[in-house]
Structure formats: structure tokens, C-alpha cells
Symmetry: D2
Subunit: 340 residues, 4 copies
């Protein structure tokens, strides 16, 4: 299999990240995060997000979302999210299982929530028959490849806080969002009122590793137990921490996301030249969604694997990643043209 | 920090394992285990455990135990284990949380269960007020460094099956047990009636990675969902699979465990020469337990970190690992002597 | 407070039901359902629903739904229901908490599901990232006072079974439905392919008591443990069983539901004479939904309590019960007229 | 079946309690506890336990224990209890399932915990690998028929609070304890430092009904949601409240418990006259435990049903209740003599 456009998860490890793992190998260090690598990685996150940020590394995105939400909820709470959200569609019910909470899905064409679309669920407060709305959870980048503006995030945070609720941000592709907005991480998260962030590394060139970021220390008091009980505590933690050190210190997050986003723009440009294909979402990060003639899907997938997003239209999703090349995109566009 | 004897978790990655990760890097492969590395790794496990073994890779030992037990239980079941078992003592209640089951701890001097010690919990069957005994869970190597004989395991499996129950084996240190017994893995697990194994890699030289092994395909039907919902599905799975390929194919499991066990024997020999120290458990794998004079603990820990096991006695635990050296052990013994 | 139209839950106990409780008092009987009252009550249910029906009495409607669904699901499953369903709106997340399952709400004007409206969730089978669709859950009578025809139920059962799924029926008001349809219970449940029924007694004149009915004995094997672990096992069971004996044997279910439904029709007739009020749902059982001028709501509630259903329209819900009187309805209509 | 000595659960409803249910019947009242009966019943509890006591009525004892403990715990906590405790032995794992917590059983000959016996579990604080000890849970009366002195309770409360933990009291038979001690409820609960009480009514003459009592309002903030989500909220609440009104106002709790305890003393006296039977526990409430010749058990059970407590000895449990008569006891003793 070549690279294809299936998922940024299908890419490997960026060479500098791999080197960081190798460089951290050697002596014994205390397990479970009581080590100098982890201290340093946490410090780097605090440079980006503020000195009192509680940073908890976990294995994967589902783990980050569930552990982060567990700091904000008890089982009688409800979490409002887009119906396309990873926590709703792609985690096999892990949030319901671990949190005991109800997820309230909101229809959304572009993957975003708005104060207006969320409003339908903002009732039943103090009424014990009703799962209590507690968290609004957004994805930045959204699962539809779109990016919230800081103002959009601020309006959701204000709404949440007005109701005594919290704003959670699933940042599996947060670096792509930062690059897209041209803003530091903090400017569209903490500074906009986000309470908890799932900060993703895996989809942008790390081997594995995500971070749960909690900005209010009072909310973070139980996080170490919640992480352990949710099976997300890594014994040889240094090997995630070392990756994050390289990722942040050498700005690999930025280089990789810039490249992936740029490749998505190029892909969009090439595709827009093909009249039989209709791009369905704004291309703001590293994903391109398009409605394509059905007969080209299978032959195209044989050479460049990707996923069908909506079988009925049919709509496809093409993801670029840190190692996508221009020539791949041009070959892909050429193949499409030859199939039409 | 030098190496110390704190935990085999504190060691790093065996060089050949690290190389296997690097070698698996490069092209895109499908995520979540649909890749050639995973196919090959699964095949290697099947060579050891039988062709119909269902193999599910997970991140860590707690994950392996919980996911494996989830295949055997519903929430009204009970799991009988030693009171020293990892699932009872070291997983922050993850089994209760995820499974909903009751854990029934059995007092055990050497970390082992016996048909006699388990018998006290084998009642209340069919009585709905009583959490139904469903699984006997043993650790091989035990948390006390001892190793079950195949006969001991067989007797527990027979007892479990006689009552319509199952036998689970927490093999976080299964390679050390295999080496200790001089037997293939299968001879003291599947062939003795064990139903589900947590096969550990992390403590014996891997970066991370454990495998849930289920021998009856009928029990494994739901495992892929249970693994995903328990947040134990790795997107870039190839990097665990590649480690296991090297681990099994190049017999790193064996070399590492042989070395660690040998170092434990050497440590035992050195310690037995010191009359003020009393070794409290048989040294059958890579752990040495000993009651030591209280005043030497802190100065000793400053040079060679290790954990206090039982504060009252005081009893300490010294673990060797794949990279423990003879000179370390001799230095350690010399330091003890100088402190006494 | 007079009677009002708030809820059939606000009514008391039908005199013959109360007498049955008193008559069952006296001697000691074995607790937890091992008694002659329970045997008889179970037998009566089997006359209605078939001789192999597994009958489990529980305390309340939420308990019935959760225990019934627990027989059909494991935690990685999803339950499709109307967004107005009791399990979605009125149980404070008890299904998610106890089952661990995801609930998938379907928009529905009249409280009913259809094969078309359910279809959007019938995908992702065998895909482990996706909570697996397992149950379609309908309410009969719906929360909007409408009643499914047997054909409508059959079409949903067929759809469910076609996908290896099950059909659950929340029958908190099942007697009102039976009377509305003029059919025996079985004709619109088991005979239409329903797999599990929550059979309600509380809202139709009992003090408390619901029954979980499972038609396939294989699905019922674990039900006694699931009921106990969900805290729904009544020690002095005879006092629920005795109520159900009277309820079924003396056809109190029928008399009460006939009366309540008749009163709803009368209420509808009276209301339809008032042009400023618009009835919003078909009146097929014992509930009347209507959009009313906002200014009359509060003065009306002071004399006859009822609930606001939709604050924005504003839409109100008026429920009749077994003890609603014609004169109450006429007084109510007269008061409305005087307020307009 | 006659009355027997199986369980106080096998008795019926005290006539004055039944009358209270009947008297509360009639008009409509708001459901779920927003009614004058519930207000009055809560007020009566506050007279006994203090004006700021949060009182939550639930269906059954398992519900009371689980809901009460849910106010004190999150899932990573552990609850220490006697190995004979109802929460450990008789609730089918409901605490683990609903709370997600680990239960830590303590061996106890007489059903009581002591600071010494509990101490073995008071470690691992702040260590995330360890389920955090959070609650000591005692039963008063214990499951072995013994009664804690206020001093014994105080010493456990002090120990719990010293460690930042809480003391929970399972008072399924709290009235028998009050009568046995000759003290008001408060004197051996709240005044001794107990934080949460499960106050039982069912075993002492009520039809059904238990109360969760929380003395610190800060701990009670979430209780209404936790009760609802645990399926323990009764719609027609007035019928539990009315029972508690009669129970407390007319001192039925006292009369019934005095009678039952007195009957146990009489039974003890009669049994002590029979040399072949050995009473194994102090008779301090309404239970008598005894080792009896094996051959008399079955013929005895045919006339007077009771439970075998420990099959090996064999030890039996005889419970008296509010309606046990002197003649029954004398007949029972006579039958035993005739069988020996």
C-alpha cells in the first residue's frame, strides 16, 4: 500500500520523533511519569497553555476524551456534541461506558456547534428526571475538516459557563487548527474559555500520545486516579514524554501540520479543476470532503486508499498528513481524471 | 538515577525492539490492526498458543487484564484472585469500574491460589443475591516472584471448569515464568486449561504492548468491541505488532527473561551471604523479597531505587530486568554490607 | 390539590388494588418472589403473553426499561429510540449508567419511530469503532399520547430482526394502548415480534409495580441476576404480585384504561369547541397535547395542575387517569373559557 | 407456611402501616416526593436526626446502601466492610456495578469492624495505583445479630475522619439496634460521627421503604440525581412517606423492634436449655445463630422455615420479627427437643 488519503492515523512516525524515543532509551527511570522527561514535557505544555495547566499524558484519543470528560462529570450529567463528533461516532460508546453520562448529539452540516444549535438541549436544569447538561464538547479541527474561529469558541464557552457548564475541546488535530488559524494554541482554547483540552499528537507524526489539559487546578484534583482507573496510565511514560518534548520543542507539531494543511489546499485546487466532483466542506485543515461519481470510487481506492464518508451521496473523505507529497496529489488527480 | 531494582517497568527498550519499531516506520498502513505487521504478529502468537487463538493487542497490563476478563464476565459475576494480585492491588479499581464485577481476594503467603484457598468462595451459585463466581484469576509469575507449576495451574483450571467457571492468567511476566519452568508458553497455560491469558511484553524489554489471548473462539466474539470501548485500541497498531514480531521471532522474550531470572538468582546468592537479611519468598523468576534492617533502606534507595513492599516488617522487593548487570548486583551487595 | 391533569402518576391506588394488598397481608411468606402470590401473578401474565414468557417484577418504569434492556445488550451496543422516549428524556441517564450503552435519539413529531426514521442509524455493523445498533425501543402508548398500530410495530420488529437486532417496547401505558386498539396485549407485542416488554401497572391504578416480560427463554437466562444487581428486587414481593393478580384477574387494567381513555376523548371534545386552543397530537389514549394562549396557563394550573410540555409554543400536556371525572373535565373546560 | 424464623423480610405489613397507606389514598398529589406526606415524613426524620438532615426515600435496602454510598464516593474509591456485610454478600455486586468502587472485605467473627481490623486497608493513600480507601461501612445491627456500642462506632468514625474518609452505617435493622441499646437513633449514629445512614423500614413492619440520611448538606447536593439515576425514585412517593409517618409518629419502629428483640431473647433462653445446640453469637437484637445437629435441620425447616448460615458447621440463623409469638417459639423449641 502506498500512502493514500485514508487517515492521518495511517502515517508512520516523524523521524525526529522516532529519534527522540531512541534518545530517551538507556538508563532506568521511574515509571508512570515520575521522571525528568515527563517533567520537561509538562513544562513545555505549560509554556503554551499557562503555568498552572494540569497535563496528563494518555495513550490515545478516545482515552484523552474520556479521561478529560471524567474530570468534568458525574454519571448523571449529559455531554452535548455534534452528531459527527468522535465521542459520538467513533469511540464505540466508551464515553457512556466509562462516564455513565448521556451524550446529546446535535445535527451539524459542517461539524460545528453553535449557541443556537446547542440551545435545544439547555433545559431541564435542576430537574432530577433529566440527565443534567454539563459539558459542551467540540472538535477542533472538526470531523468535517472545518475550523472554529476563536469567536465561535468563545461564544460556546460563554454559553456553557452561563449555565454552570464546561467547554471541552477534542483536539485530536489541534495542531492543524493552530496552523490554520495562525494562532498559538492558547489563543483559541484557554483564552476563549475552554476548560479541558484533548491535545492530540498521534495523528500529526507521533507514534502515540495525547495529553489531557485541565486549566483549573480544582478540576484536576482527581485526574491521576481517573487516568489510572481508565487504563490510560503508561508505565514507561518517558517514551511518550520524549516524543512530546521533540514535538513541542522542535515545533514538529507546526511543521507537520503546516505541510498537511498545505497538501489539503493543493488537493482542493486540483479537485476543483474536475467539474464532476463537488467539494462539500470548506477545506480549512487537512481534510477534503467531496461528492464523487460512484463508479470511480473502487478503482481509485485500489491505488489510493480512503474512506467513504456517506454512502448515499456518495461522499468521500480524503485526509492529508505530514508525509503526503505533491506528486501523490497530482497522481491522484490524474487518476481521477482518467477514470472519469 | 542508575538502574536500581525498583521494577522491570523502569528499564528501557531492548535495542532489537527499538530497531523493529524503526524498521516498521515509513509507508502508510491501515490503522487499528488491519495491517501486515499485525497479521504476522498474530501468526507468531498462534505458533506458540495454537492456530485458533484470538490475539488482541492492547496498551498495558491493566488493559490486558480488564479486556480479557470482559470476555468472560457480565457485571453480576465475581472474580476470585489472590489478595496480592495486580487486579486487586494495583489497578485502582479498573476491573470493578469497567467490568462491574466483584473481586474476591484470597489471602496468600506466596501469591498463589490453591483449590483449597479458593474453595471458600465457591458457593452461592444460582443464588441471585450473590455475585456469581465466574473466574479464577492467577498471576504467573505471581506478584511475590513465585511460579506456579503446570500441575498447580491444571488443578485450578479443573476446579474452575467443574463449577462452570473460567481460569484467567495474568502473564505480565509470563516470559520469566516460561524460562523458570523451562517450558513452552502453551505447556503451562492453554494445555493446563487456562482460558484467557494476559501476555505481557512491557516488563521484559518492549516499549509497550500486551496481548489478550483467548483460546475458545466462542468467547472471543465480542472482544474487538470490548477492546475498543475500553480505550485499548491503538491506531498505529503496527508499532506494537512490530515489537511483538521481534520479541517472538528473535526470542528476545527468552533472552531477556533468562537474563533477568539469572540476575535474580545471583542477587539471591549474594544476599544469602548476609546474615542480617532474610529472604522471604522463593526466588523463581526475577524478583527477590527480603526483610532487611530498617536503617539501611533509605541510604540503599538513594543509590539503587526499589520499593518497600511491607512497611511493618520491613520487607522490600528487588526486581531484576533484562539489562541488570552482574556488577550492579555486586555493588549493591557491597553497599548493603557497608551499611550494616 | 384536586386531581388535575398532571400525570396518571399523581393518582392514588384503585380500591380493589389496595384491597388486594391488604388481603395478601398476614402470614409469613418467603421473600423475593418465591411465594404463591408471585407464582399466580406470573401465571396470569403467561395467560396473556404465552406460557414460556419470563416475568420479572420490578419497582418502577425506569427499572423495567433498564432491566429489560440489560437482557438484550452488552455495553458496546446502542439503543435506538424516539427523542421523546422516556429512556432518553426522563430517566436521568439510568440506561447509559447501568447498561453502558449509547442511546441514539430519533426526531419524531408524534413520538413514533418508523423504519424510515430509524434507518439513519442502521449502519456501522461489525465496525468496532461504532457502538453496535442492537435494540429499537418504542413506547406504546408513546410519550405523545399516540398509539402504534400492530402493523407499525411489526414493521419495526421485522427491521430489527433483519439486522440481528431486537425490539423493546416500553409499555408504561400498555393497558391504555390495548384498550385503544381493542386488542389483547399479545396481539400488538409478542405476535408482532416484540422481544421484551416493560409492562406498566403504576400509571393505571396500582400502588407500584411493573413487569419485565421476555419471550425468548434464552434471553432470560441472566435476568434474575440483572434485576437484583440493578436494585430492583423487592423483598416483600407478594405485595406487588397481589396487585398484579387483582389487576389482571379482575380486569382492572381494562376498566381503568377504558375510563382514562374515555375521559381523554371527552376532554378532547370539550377543548375542540374552544377555537383559541389547538390540539397538536391525535388523542389515542389518555393524553391530550395542545397549544394554548400563554396567559391562561398559570391561572389554569392553580386549579388543575398539569405540565408545560414545550415552553416555546407554549404546548401543554393534559393526562387523564382512572379516577378522572366528567365533571372535572367540564369544570376545566369552563375555566378555560372564562380565562379566554 | 406458618411464620417461621427465616427472615424479618418474610413478615407482612404491620396493620397500622397498612392503614396509613390506605389513609393516604384518594386525591391526586404530585409525584416523586413533592407532596405533603413526604414533607411531613422528612420532618419527622429531622426530629430524630437533626434539622439539616437530608432525607431521601428509596425502595429497598440495596438501593439505600448504593445511593448513600454514591454520595460519598467516586469510582476510584474503595469501601471497607465486614466480609459478612450485606453490601459484600447479598447485593449481587450492585455496589461495584453502580459505584464502580472496590469493596475491601474484613474477616470478622461477630460481624463487627474494629479500628484494628480495618487498619490493614488504610494505606496507599495518594497512590494512584491503589483504589483509594474512602468509606468504612458498618451494619447496625450487624448481619450476625450483634450491636455496636456507641463507643465502638465513635472509634471507627474517628479513624475514618482522621484519614479523610467517611463512615456509612447500613441500618436495615437500625430500630432493633436502638431498642437494644436503649438509645435514640441519633445517639449512636450522627452523634458518633456517622456520615450517612441507610435507615431501614421494610424488615420491621413496613411494606417497603428505606431512607438515605445524609448529615452534611454539602454531601447531599447530588443525591436527588443519584437516586433517580439509580432507579430508586418512587413516583407515588406518598405511599412510602405515609408509612414512615406512621412508623415514626406512632413509634411503630419501637414497638415492633422491642417485640422482635424480646422474642429473640426468649428464643435464646429456650435454646440454651437444649445442650445439643450451641449458640454462636451474642443475642443483642432479633437474630439467633446456633450450631445444631445436622439431622434435625430438614425436619425442623419443614415446620418452621429458616436459613442455613454455614453449611459446614452446620450453623443456622433464626430471625424473629414484629409478629413472632411466644407460642411459636415454645412450639419450635419443643419440636427441636422431639427431634433430638
Amino acid at each position: 500500500m502506498g500512502k493514500g488519503f485514508a487517515s492521518d492515523n495511517n502515517a508512520g512516525i516523524h523521524p525526529e520523533i522516532l529519534k527522540a524515543i531512541a534518545d530517551a532509551n538507556g538508563e532506568h527511570v521511574t515509571g508512570y511519569g515520575n521522571d525528568a522527561y515527563t517533567d520537561k514535557a509538562v513544562g513545555l505544555f505549560r509554556e503554551h497553555f499557562g503555568g498552572d495547566t494540569e497535563v496528563s499524558f494518555v495513550f490515545n484519543g478516545t482515552g484523552a476524551n474520556v479521561v478529560g470528560l471524567s474530570a468534568l462529570t458525574r454519571s448523571y450529567h449529559a455531554v452535548i456534541c455534534a452528531e459527527t463528533a468522535h465521542i459520538q461516532m467513533d469511540e464505540c460508546g466508551a464515553p457512556e461506558k466509562f462516564l455513565g453520562c448521556k451524550l446529546l448529539p446535535v445535527a451539524s452540516g459542517d461539524g460545528k456547534l453553535t449557541p443556537e444549535s446547542v440551545a435545544r438541549y439547555l433545559h431541564g436544569f435542576d430537574f432530577e428526571h433529566h440527565a443534567q447538561p454539563r459539558v459542551i464538547s467540540i472538535s477542533q479541527v472538526t470531523e468535517m475538516g472545518t475550523v472554529y474561529t476563536p469567536e465561535e469558541i468563545r461564544s460556546l464557552a460563554d454559553l456553557a459557563h452561563h449555565h454552570g457548564m464546561y467547554l471541552h475541546l477534542d483536539g485530536a488535530r489541534i495542531s492543524n487548527a493552530a496552523v490554520s488559524l495562525g494562532l498559538p494554541f492558547r489563543a483559541f482554547t484557554r483564552d476563549c474559555g475552554v476548560d479541558v483540552v484533548s491535545f492530540g499528537g498521534t495523528k500529526n507524526g507521533m507514534m502515540l500520545g495525547e495529553a489531557v489539559l485541565i486549566f483549573d487546578p480544582a478540576m484536576a484534583r482527581e485526574i491521576k486516579y481517573l487516568r489510572k482507573q481508565s487504563m490510560q496510565l503508561f508505565s514507561k511514560m518517558r517514551f511518550v514524554s520524549a516524543q512530546f518534548i521533540a514535538y513541542l520543542e522542535k515545533e514538529i507539531w507546526k511543521k507537520n501540520a503546516e505541510h498537511a494543511n498545505k497538501m489539503a489546499v493543493l488537493l482542493e485546487q486540483e479537485i476543483r479543476k474536475i467539474p464532476q466532483i463537488r467539494i462539500t466542506q470548506k477545506v480549512e485543515a487537512n481534510g477534503v470532503f467531496a461528492v464523487v461519481p460512484r463508479h470511480i470510487i473502487q478503482p481509485l481506492q485500489e491505488k489510493f486508499f480512503f474512506y467513504l464518508w456517506n454512502e448515499e451521496l456518495p461522499e468521500v473523505r480524503w485526509m492529508t498528513s505530514f508525509d503526503t507529497t505533491e506528486s501523490e496529489i497530482r497522481d491522484f488527480a490524474a487518476l481521477i481524471r482518467s477514470l472519469l
